[in-house]
């Protein structure tokens, strides 16, 4: 809702604020999603590595796959702020 008494500067500032909020949410929420996903994979990876040290590299790779989610969030955040 835009107040009719608002000046152009005020509207622009509000829009900028909304964008910043959106960017924050995009990074924050995807960060939480990544964390939840990595918790399960990470615990399994640590368990697997404890039993067989040779698979450390592979286990690490599996653990960081959910990082893509937060990268998507970061990209969306950057797009919101700078494009």
């Amino acid at each position: 809702m835009v107040d009719v008494n608002m000046t152009l500067e005020m509207v622009q500032a509000s829009q900028m604020g909304m964008k910043a909020l959106g960017a924050g949410l995009a990074v924050g929420l995807t960060g939480i999603g990544t964390g939840v996903a990595e918790m399960a994979i990470g615990s399994a990876a640590v368990g697997a590595t404890a039993e067989n040290k040779e698979i450390f590299g592979l286990a690490l790779l599996f653990t960081v796959i959910p990082e893509t989610i937060v990268i998507f969030g970061l990209v969306v955040g950057l797009l919101l702020l700078f494009v």
């Binding site: 939840v36 918790m39 399960a40 615990s43 399994a44 640590v46 368990g47 067989n52």
Partner: protein, 349 residues
């Protein structure tokens, strides 16, 4: 959800799955059937048993080396699992491992009553339960059975031992005491599992299945030995078969009728399927290994349905136990010069 996404559960269940994958496959047993004891020892010294074989290689030889190495490995493995299991899983695992306390105490009592040497008894003990090596050594050092029972004062086993021992001493048979100990063990497991702890219902399902399998096996054994009296003493409460049904089933003379009646009483799906295949009479050892196989398959199914629960741990504990049983059976069979086909029939694969 709380339990299913807990990180320690995922960690320990993954470890159990990997350990399970490292167990000896069926093909390996088939190969071992054609080997001598020294060859079997060499083969298993290249697997998870390496450390024990190396450590004990100087002290023991031949079948003794194999037997002691297997017992030590099993005990070490079980104790390690207990160390890494978190929270309620530890409680359930510890409760389940108390089975070995009964076995160890009975082995010591039987060994002492038959005048076996302490060293010989020690070889067959598996210190996997609540009674550790130090405690078992203390029990072994006692010179009379009364003192062994007294040394167990304060332990869970003590009340039953104190109650049943005088009669056992008089008759010279530990059978009744053994039955009572196992009955108490299962009653305690059920009490632990139904105490409202999270994950308890899954543990309870396993105990019920175990009790059912044990009761059915007892029925088949009683039939084979044609024993009619005191059957209620051998009955374990808590499964789907009631005490009255158990006694009634034991009185049925005709095999077909027995199977039909058993099919009505048993409500465990996979066991029911097995009973359908038992139309013709078979030797008890075959039925025993079939029942164990059904139990393992059902537990595997449950562990896939509940991937982060007590099941993967129990499946591993059981499979490891049977691996050691199989290797021991193989070694003993070879020692007694039994043909490979006969040994093969006793293996749980």
């Amino acid at each position: 959800m709380g339990v299913s996404i807990s990180a320690p559960y995922i960690y320990v269940c993954t470890r159990m799955r990997i350990r399970k994958a490292k167990l000896l496959p069926k093909e390996e047993y088939m190969r071992m059937l054609n080997m001598s004891i020294s060859e079997i020892t060499r083969v298993i010294s290249e697997t998870e048993y390496k450390q024990e074989i190396d450590e004990l290689g100087n002290t023991f030889k031949g079948i003794d080396l194999l037997e002691v190495a297997l017992s030590w490995n099993l005990a070490k493995e079980y104790q390690r699992i207990l160390e890494i299991t978190p929270g309620t899983l530890k409680q359930f695992t510890r409760a389940y491992l108390r089975y070995w306390d009964i076995q160890n105490v009975l082995t010591i009592l039987r060994g002492k009553s038959q005048g076996e040497k302490t060293g010989k008894i020690k070889e067959v003990l598996v210190p996997a339960g609540g009674l550790d090596k130090v405690m078992l050594d203390r029990l072994l050092a006692e010179d009379s059975m009364d003192r062994i029972i007294e040394a167990l004062k304060g332990r869970r086993l003590y009340p039953v031992l104190a109650r049943e021992y005088p009669a056992a001493k008089e008759t010279g048979s530990f059978a009744r005491m053994e039955n009572e100990l196992y009955k108490q063990f299962y009653a305690e497991l059920i009490a632990d599992a139904s105490g409202g702890i999270s994950g308890g219902s899954q543990f309870l399902a396993f105990i019920r299945l175990d009790i059912d399998v044990k009761n059915i096996l007892t029925l088949f054994r009683l039939r084979a030995d044609k024993i009619q009296e005191d059957v209620k003493e051998m009955y374990i409460a808590g499964g789907t078969i009631t005490a009255a049904d158990f006694a009634a089933l034991n009185t049925i003379q005709d095999y077909r009728e027995f199977i039909d009646q058993l099919r009505v009483k048993v409500r465990t799906g996979p066991v029911l399927e097995l009973l359908n295949d038992l139309e013709t009479e078979r030797p008890v050892y075959e039925i025993a290994s079939l029942l164990v196989r059904v139990q393992m398959e059902q537990m595997e199914k449950l562990s896939k349905r509940n991937p982060f629960s007590i099941y993967p741990i129990l499946v591993y504990l059981e499979k490891k136990k049977y691996e050691v049983f199989n290797l021991r059976a193989l070694a003993r069979g070879k020692e007694s010069k039994l043909p490979s086909e006969t040994i093969g029939k006793y293996l749980v694969m």
